[in-house]
């Protein structure tokens, strides 16, 4: 039963190993020599115990050639995050594989922490020993169960009791301020900064959105009317946010029955054509 639990709890390591990690290069990860657009996929590390690409490090750990205790996983993560920030690109596939591998390393490390306790667990006890062990636990548990009974009796007797609990009347807590202790100018000086308006925060780094959904809908409807169709790539701009607005406008056209959307493959370009039947109701946005 324990072996089963371990297998269930350790899919990342198992999967990574099964995917060919242990025998060399990880699946779909560029190796150190693979440069160009793959350059950021396997990034190089410069650690105390290891100097080279990350996937090689994982391989060596899996082969027990490097002790995982010697590896600071936090350092690897920090390096990777820096790398991501520098490259300015975000490769979802590579990053999720990185997360899986790092999670596997962390899991291996945390398992090592618990190893001693696991060894002592109730594995392969003979039935008599198991019975004695269980008895010990039952005896200990009964103490607390009985103690809970005693607490119950005290609770029934005392919990509803009303103790003196009112707060001290504020008037009794007020102590007169000694005259002259706080001169008026000091008070004014303390109050002044609180009355001043705070500086207006600098929002220059926030770009105003150049398009609105309404404008974008109007533009797409015009193109659709004039040309009968278009592709998403042709009408969308380079800005990520504006592309999102264009996309929402497309969805709006589609749900209103004004346009038909087609996409040959995942993440491929979207071909938009005018719907053959007239829209039943144009959604006003």
């Amino acid at each position: 039963m324990r072996a089963e639990a371990t297998a269930v709890a350790a899919p990342p390591v198992a999967r990574a190993a099964a995917g060919g990690l242990a025998s060399g290069a990880p699946p779909s990860w560029g190796t150190g020599s693979d440069v160009g657009d793959q350059a950021h996929r396997s990034f190089d590390l410069d650690l105390d115990v290891f100097d080279g690409p990350f996937d090689l490090l994982v391989t060596l750990i899996l082969k027990d050639e490097i002790d995982i205790w010697e590896v600071r996983v936090s350092r690897i993560i920090a390096d990777y995050v820096l790398r991501l920030a520098d490259s300015g690109e975000f490769d979802l596939d590579a990053t999720s594989q990185f997360v899986v591998l790092v999670a596997a390393l962390l899991e291996m490390k945390s398992r090592l922490l618990l190893e001693e306790e696991v060894e002592e667990a109730l594995e392969d006890l003979d039935p008599d020993e198991a019975a004695e062990h269980l008895l010990e636990r039952l005896v200990r548990y009964s103490q607390f169960k009985n103690a809970a009974g005693a607490l119950r009796r005290r609770w029934d007797e005392h919990s509803a009791r009303l103790y003196r609990s009112a707060p001290v009347p504020p008037a009794l807590l007020c102590r007169p301020v000694p005259a002259g202790a706080l001169p008026a100018p000091a008070l004014a000086a303390a109050l002044a900064p609180l009355l001043r308006d705070p500086p207006v925060p600098d929002t220059s780094h926030l770009a105003d959105l150049a398009v609105s959904l309404v404008k974008e809908l109007r533009r797409l409807r015009l193109i659709l009317g004039d040309e009968g169709g278009f592709t998403f790539a042709a009408v969308s701009s380079g800005d990520l946010l504006e592309r999102a607005v264009t996309f929402f406008a497309l969805l709006e056209l589609h749900s209103g029955g004004e346009a038909v959307l087609r996409q040959k493959r995942h993440f491929g370009d979207i071909v938009v054509t005018r719907a053959t039947r007239p829209p039943q109701a144009v959604v006003a946005v």
Binding site: D128, V139, S142, A148, A160, R161, Y163
Partner: protein, 191 residues
């Protein structure tokens, strides 16, 4: 009445929490022994059924409490409600925390044989259990213990007033009975 007793009465009247004798001694500027003496006079004065309030020793000090037979009137006036009842699981968890504190969630679960996460959360929400800090072990788990509210609600002066845990041990006969049953089970498993 005893002059010091009157002054203590005033302190107890105004304080919204139990006062320990040394605290009262400091306020009145007299030795604690004299406070104890005067408290004895007050206890006689406030003995059962003489007044609508009584003196009680709870949570490390002395405090006024409403006499039991007047409690319902006070409830009607103030709208104060009885605390919600505790389920057996909550009481059991509370017993483990009260006796083993400071105790971690894992240790509580170990004794009870079931996860105690929910129970500890519920007890904490009701102010019966408090976080005392973190254990100096791997993972730095939270340490739980009981607080003043626990003492008040269970009418305890201090944790020392809890009966020793040994008092709740199973009788030897009961232990033997369980052992026989378990061994019989083990025998069946072997066969």
């Amino acid at each position: 009445m005893h002059a010091l007793a009157r002054r203590l009465e005033a302190l107890l009247f105004i304080s919204s929490r139990p006062l320990a004798p040394p605290e009262m001694a400091a306020a009145c500027g007299c030795p604690t022994a004299e406070v104890d003496e005067a408290l004895a006079v007050l206890r006689v004065e406030y003995a059962a059924e003489r007044h609508g309030v009584t003196l009680r020793d709870v949570a490390g000090g002395v405090t006024f409490a409403v006499a039991d037979d007047c409690a319902e009137d006070v409830r009607r006036l103030t709208g104060a409600e009885r605390p919600d009842d505790l389920t057996p699981a909550l009481l059991e968890t509370l017993a483990v925390v009260a006796y083993l504190q400071p105790v971690t969630r894992a240790e509580t679960a170990e004794v009870r044989g079931v996860s105690s996460e929910w129970a500890l959360g519920a007890l904490e929400e009701r102010g019966l259990v408090e976080q005392l800090g973190r254990a100096d072990t791997p993972g730095a788990p939270i340490l739980y213990g009981t607080g003043v509210r626990f003492l008040r609600l269970f009418g305890l002066r201090s944790l020392e007033e809890l009966p020793p845990l040994e008092e709740f041990s199973l009788q030897a006969v009961e232990v033997d009975e369980i052992r026989a049953r378990l061994l019989a089970n083990a025998e069946r498993r072997r066969a």
